[in-house]
Symmetry: C2
Subunit: 477 residues, 2 copies
């Protein structure tokens, strides 16, 4: 079992770290974006890898839990410990240096506490692109983005956070430092520790630095919104876009009319792209190399798709402002959702070809639970849907407390039955620990536990996240 942080232990941390590492107001570190849980613990913000190592060593010696805290934007409670013994909350915010940029290598090396938007900006300053892009990019930090293997809108083309990382610096659970900050594109010397740490949600160590992959900036960018007769047609359009435009397709997002209706109902206000809002539409973003115009490529795609009956209407952005206006719609659907207040929201993924059937069967299964409004949208190119279930007009989230567990179970059971994932990009955190136990392959779970015990034998790293906390100690301290 872990020990709680005591006043004596706090004093010992104050002896280890400068005063600047301690926070007077710890409120922001103990809450989360949707206000669903409250954390606890003493907050420390070390300014260097060595300081992180000294905190971890002290915690290991006293067998005290550590909750790594990055931007605090996670949606599954991985960044706070509501129940259990009082931990150290280890904020990365003061480790916010971009250490070095290598434009000729398309590499940027930075501290784990750098904010995503600052990495994007540093890449742009040298004429490169850091393609990771998501709603919270103004506050999410690199350590958390890697710790959770974050996704976002450009995964289709550039991959998730995992695919954008070449090397890591990590403080292990015993306080030792793994110097794995390689800039190499290829290195087959031993097991893939980098990818093991990425997505481990701070349960195997604290990421303190990263070597990130940059990309050339596309010569021209463009976007179009196209109305499709069905999700199946959207998938055929995706395949056609791949055949015609190849890797030039940066994003392929699907939206249901419900999202547009919510925007009309509660805002933010958007400029409607279609005369009549279609049942389903997709937002296609492209970034092309020299010699071909994005507008032309999208026109050719539209013409070919129209001929095959895959699209019924479309708007192709003719300039950056029009492209931004199309993206503004997609990017504000989550805000409209927040204003409506979901009964239950699900970050799911499915084999691409199973999506049309899932949408039909999900609606049927939920109708048996009760009357709901479903807003299904997201990263169709990745098979990743944000499948959110909302109250009927005039009712609120609070009216559905009784139904919520059933709604969640119905959706997750269907996803699981169709070989999907109940956490496509948000991770497990503490919210989905039981889901992982319910839906995870038992042999997989056994391997996860074996790895956790091997790399964090005391169980101090983000206790209770990803895997249930062990109730009996594996060994004496």
């Amino acid at each position: 079992m872990l020990n709680p942080v005591t006043p004596d232990f706090e004093d010992s941390l104050r002896a280890l770290l400068p005063a600047a590492a301690f926070k007077n107001d710890t409120t922001p570190y103990l809450s989360e974006p949707r206000g669903r849980w409250e954390g606890q613990g003493v907050v420390v913000a070390p300014a260097s890898t060595e300081e992180v190592a000294s905190v971890v060593k002290a915690c290991a010696a006293a067998r005290i839990g550590i909750v790594p805290y990055s931007g605090g934007t996670g949606l599954v409670g991985g960044q706070l410990l509501q129940e259990g013994v009082r931990p150290v909350v280890l904020s990365l915010e003061r480790m916010n240096r971009i250490r070095e940029v290598y434009p000729s290598e398309n590499v940027l090396v930075c501290d784990a506490g750098v904010i995503l938007a600052d990495v994007q900006k540093a890449a742009e300053d040298v004429g490169r692109l850091f393609p990771l892009s998501l709603a919270s990019e103004g506050s999410a930090r690199i350590g958390g983005l890697l710790g959770t293997n974050a996704g976002g809108v450009n995964v289709l083309r550039y991959g998730n956070a995992r695919a954008l990382c070449l090397g890591l610096e990590v403080v292990r659970a015993d306080g030792s430092i793994w110097h794995g900050l390689t800039r190499l594109r290829k290195d087959n010397t031993g097991y893939d520790l980098r990818n093991l740490m990425i997505g481990a949600e701070g349960t195997l160590g604290v990421i303190t630095g990263a070597a990130l992959k940059l990309a050339p900036r596309p010569v021209g960018v463009g976007a179009a919104m196209m109305a499709v007769p069905s999700p199946a047609a959207a998938l055929e359009l995706l395949a056609l876009a791949g055949a015609l435009i190849g890797e030039g397709v940066s994003a392929f997002e699907i939206m249901h009319r419900q999202g547009f209706d919510f925007l009309t109902e509660v805002g933010p206000g958007v400029k409607q792209p279609f005369a009549e809002v279609p049942e389903w539409c997709v937002l296609i973003d492209v970034g092309l190399s020299a010699g071909i115009s994005p507008e032309k490529a999208l026109e050719d795609l539209f013409a070919s798709a129209f001929e095959s009956g895959l699209v019924t209407d479309g708007v192709i952005a003719q300039n950056h402002a029009q492209r931004d206006a199309l993206w503004y719609i997609r990017e504000n659907i989550p805000e409209a959702n927040r204003r409506i207040g979901s009964v239950s929201s699900h970050d799911i993924s499915l084999p691409l070809s199973a999506i049309p059937q899932f949408i039909v069967e999900g609606e049927k299964a939920l109708a048996e639970v009760g009357a709901f409004r479903i807003n299904c949208f997201g990263h169709l190119g990745d098979g990743n849907l944000h499948y959110n279930v909302f109250p009927m007009p005039g009712r609120s989230r609070a009216d559905y407390e009784a139904e919520r567990p059933q709604v969640k179970r119905v959706v997750h059971d269907l996803v699981h039955a169709m070989a999907g994932s109940v956490s496509a990009e948000h991770g497990i955190g503490r919210l989905k620990v039981k889901d992982l136990e319910t839906y995870g392959d038992p042999v997989k779970l056994d391997m996860l536990r074996a790895i956790k015990e091997a790399l964090d034998p005391l169980g101090i790293m983000n206790p209770g996240a990803v895997l249930r906390q062990r109730q009996t100690p594996p060994a004496e301290v």
Copy 2:
């Protein structure tokens, strides 16, 4: 310690598996491509995942080592056990079914024993591309390609084997089966076991099946060979190609004049592309989407590069036959090397910007050891050089037995000092276990050992590969 295979144990295997699983001639399984080592052991070839599991369970119960055997094309001795107690050699050759192809998802699911060329063919049959491509593709099998995280010529664009795999089926060291054959593009539910198994060289389990990522076939393909004044210019040309052609650049290979000289000296005969062979040249391969011709893109690249002094001469293939002729040169350099016979060959990678300095300093450092011919070529786009050291004319490999260890040390020390890797794509196998111990970060090595003990506590999976075999048992059977 492990136990040797006994006649009694062989009998028990014969009771478990049908007669077809046993080989009369085991010679091919106990040798390797360059004839440097000889293996030992009883060879079994199970035909299903369940049969593999039953063999592994029997070995675990008797504490007998297992050497997974795929295509046998590895260059670092991972596929055979020369020293140590007699193991079971587990060949995947009878698990050679393509289980299912999902063209609309760009996914192919197959047994681990399928030959790479057969996967390429199955993808082509449905109008898709499986981009993994390397010299041994006619005999290398998927399990080994994933087990070693194989590279090849298209890594620049499509990534290595790791980047082309969505899911795995693995028989663990205790004989249990991990059913991880997902076709999902995104799944953040727990640690990244897939990437842990990929590149583990069979030391953590036996890969028995894989879900592979296919890609759209480019609409047009093309190639050019361009003479560059220096490796530094080649790197600038690479960046320029990225800026103009983006992900359309499929391969970017560098070749030194020495390779052309070897081809002239020992064959195979090739059609010389240049009037005068340049000191350095690059082979650029592109695959483009609709609306732009590969020849035009390469011409534009050449014109822009010529203006900046990055290229001095060039040949752009005007048809498939010319493209094949350019690739024929690159693909036959390894054969010419084999005919000459290297003193020592090195599969190294470096941070891209360090390559020009490495080439200068490598030559200097070797000159202090003796007189050699250096053939430096390879995947410049990935920072991966095949840096091979050859006898002077009239002498042979055998004349340099005394110098070989020093040559190897000089090259590897320099690579390590410049933050490179001593095994970019070939892996550790048994040949480079000491190199990993010498050059690997001690904290990393400690983590590798902890993971090995956690997932293979008896040490039966490919004993002595990647990590030195433990001399004392961690626990009783």
